[in-house]
């Protein structure tokens, strides 16, 4: 079912945990709330679940205002970061717990529990207590418990954060598959951008209680609404350079970063001129910094000399920390690129991939 936050705010004493938050989640959509810890994403989720009352605003599920309803009347299911399994109950009872409250016939409950357990491959541990399960199994029990309720929406609060890296990657895939099969709305909270990018139909980025941007993963990555989103999304992070905007002959424009001027494309130059900004911040993704020798100068927005500080090899690629004129930045180079720490090399920034931001408010040009 569709979910809507309508100008929701929440204060805890003096702390504004959520400020005028408005978001529409379509029926069947997988919506990810993404942000650093303390950004308000969990508060938003808890308000949607009814575990927290908003200070102002309304929450609707399937078009119905549920703001004043207790959690049990909202018909949502939640998967918690620590799974919140009842440690004294068997896996079976944990999964059945929510159903028993709803006066569902025993045989029906049994069938539903076993079906969910089969889907999630935990049928063989139904008699065990959560303490005897591995982290991954516990995670599945938590999922099964949510699933059997056939809720109008799944709310998930960092459900993968307690798993090790390999299991997390596996479970991501399973969650995507599960969602495709169930077609139920999911609101998923995480601080992990990989989870957000891989699973979300759309991502809502929050920071300090405020919604920064909502959009599809690709859109958020390629056209971040502001400096915060630009810096938060992408790993390694974007590098930023600030300088005055200067017109050049022939209608072009240059961001005049000392010792590192960036030439803008004509379209971008025109837009920057139109906005009337005196200074801009240039954002460059690591994959757009390349070795100059591999690259035709005319495709470059800038070229510069840099010292190679650290080279981290990930097997399939290298993350290279550079220092140029006292400024640090990170480049992402293919594995086997001829670089070594301590060397000085010439690098280029690929043209057409610059992002421009207004320095004071951080809004992106375009």
């Amino acid at each position: 079912m569709s979910v809507r936050f309508d100008h929701v705010s929440k204060r805890f004493g003096d702390v504004e945990a959520l400020v005028d938050f408005t978001l529409d989640v379509a029926d069947g959509e997988f919506m990810v709330l993404l942000g650093p810890s303390g950004c308000g994403k969990t508060t938003a989720l808890r308000i949607l679940a009814g575990l927290e009352e908003p200070t102002a605003g309304a929450v609707t599920i399937a078009g119905r205002d549920v703001t004043d309803l207790p959690p049990r009347q909202r018909d949502v299911a939640m998967v918690f970061q620590n799974y919140a399994l009842y440690p004294h109950m068997s896996v079976y009872d944990n999964i059945a717990f929510g159903l028993r409250m709803r006066r569902i016939p025993r045989r029906e409950i049994d069938r539903t529990v076993r079906e969910a357990a089969a889907t999630l491959a935990i049928a063989d541990v139904l008699a065990r207590k959560p303490g005897a399960l591995s982290g991954g199994q516990r995670q599945r029990v938590a999922l099964a418990r949510a699933m059997v309720r056939r809720p109008r929406a799944f709310l998930m609060d960092e459900p993968l954060s307690n798993l090790d890296a390999k299991l997390r990657a596996q479970t991501r895939v399973e969650l995507i598959r599960l969602h495709r099969q169930l077609q139920t709305t999911v609101v998923y909270v995480t601080h992990d951008q990989v989870e957000a990018m891989t699973m979300g139909h759309r991502i809502a980025v929050l920071e300090r209680g405020r919604l920064q941007q909502v959009g599809e993963p690709r859109e958020i990555y390629e056209r971040p609404a502001n400096l915060f989103v630009a810096e938060f999304i992408g790993s390694p992070s974007m590098s930023f350079f600030r300088g005055p905007l200067r017109q050049t002959d022939g209608g072009g424009a240059v961001v005049d970063v000392p010792h590192l001027p960036f030439a803008l494309d004509p379209a971008q130059a025109a837009a920057a001129r139109g906005a009337g900004w005196a200074e801009v911040v240039v954002g460059v993704r690591p994959e757009h910094i390349v070795l100059a020798e591999d690259f035709g100068e005319r495709y470059a927005a800038a070229t510069f000399e840099a010292d190679i500080d650290v080279v981290e090899s990930l097997g399939n690629e290298l993350h290279v920390s550079l220092i140029s004129q006292g400024r640090g930045m990170v480049a992402r180079l293919p594995a086997g690129a001829p670089v070594a720490a301590g060397e000085a090399r010439r690098f280029a920034v690929a043209r057409g991939h610059l992002l421009l931001f207004e320095p004071e408010h951080g809004t992106r040009l375009g």
Binding site: H7, S9, E53, P54, A58, T67, D68
Partner: protein, 306 residues
């Protein structure tokens, strides 16, 4: 309407929420609150009130007498004597019981084969009541056939008729109480020891601490809240002691063991002087309260909460 929605509608007024929460919590809290009101708070007020009233020898016909009875209590040498006896009794019981409890707990703290048996023995006196321990010790303290005098006699120490000697009666009663209380002290201190994180010991050991400095810098600070608890409870217990006095000495000889509660009991339930007894109780309450606050005040300097 539209403007209100735009600005964000205020949900369920705080007042309505407060009422709803109160209604939900009331069934959980009322049983305790009602009992406290009737059997703790009302008696507190009532005792103060009774202290301002005198009664006839049948405990009836309360007459307002102002602060006269409080004045009597505070100036009475008998009361001051009782206060002194209670104070001494607290001193004689709390310090030894805490020290012995600490010793027994430290002794049986380590995980060794069969240690549970010793822990059980050390904590066993928690099962005894004042009546039981009094009867047990009455025999031990018997001047002519008691074991204590037998042992002392063997050791060449002069024997005593413990419970009838004005000098020794109070220490003797205190001894029975110490024995009765070491079980509780041991249990609580054992629990306190188990609350000290193992890493603290490990890090002390890595830093090269010996047994003694480990005790001084890890065990004792970690145990300080527990020791405070044991001593606060011990002082309160000591001032509440009654049964051992009634069974062993009836306040004698020569009022040497006439602790305050025994004096209150005699005043109220043998002489039916309810007003005066209440005034004594109120004064005692204030003293215990001050003592407790004092203990917490002193403790603030050396008690470390994790």
């Amino acid at each position: 309407m539209s403007e209100e929605t735009m600005a964000g509608r205020r949900v369920g007024s705080p007042r309505a929420r407060a009422i709803r929460q109160t209604v939900a919590a009331a069934p959980f809290l009322l049983p305790s609150l009602v009992l406290f009101a009737v059997f703790v708070f009302y008696p507190l007020v009532r005792s103060i009130w009774l202290g301002f009233h005198a009664t006839d020898p049948f405990g009836r016909n309360e007459v307002w007498v102002g602060t006269a009875q409080y004045h009597d209590v505070l100036t009475s040498s008998d009361f001051r004597h009782s206060l002194l006896v209670s104070g001494q009794f607290a001193l004689y019981t709390v310090i030894p019981a805490t020290a012995i409890g600490l010793y027994l707990a430290l002794l049986s703290h380590r995980r060794l084969p069969g240690i549970v048996i010793f822990r059980t023995i050390f904590s066993s006196t928690v099962a005894t009541s004042v009546a039981v321990s009094s009867v047990v010790w009455l025999l031990m303290l018997n001047p002519s056939v008691g074991v204590l005098n037998y042992v002392l006699g063997k050791g060449g120490v002069p024997t005593e008729s413990w419970l009838t000697s004005p000098t020794w009666a109070l220490p003797a009663v205190a001894m029975t109480t110490v024995w009765m209380n070491i079980g509780f002290a041991t249990i609580v201190i054992l629990a306190g020891l188990q609350n000290i994180p193992e890493e603290l010991y490990e890090s002390a050991r890595v830093d090269g601490a010996g047994r003694w400095s480990e005790f001084l810098h890890v065990t004792l600070p970690g145990l300080s809240p527990t020791l405070l608890f044991v001593s606060v409870v011990g002082v309160i217990f000591a001032f509440e002691s009654f049964g051992q006095i009634q069974i062993l000495t009836q306040g004698g000889p020569l009022d040497a063991t006439n602790v305050i509660v025994y004096s209150i009991y005699r005043e109220a339930f043998l002489h039916y002087n309810i007003g005066l007894a209440s005034a004594q109780a109120v004064v005692l309450f204030v003293i215990v309260l001050l003592l407790t606050l004092l203990q917490f005040g002193v403790a603030r300097r050396w008690v470390f909460y994790q």
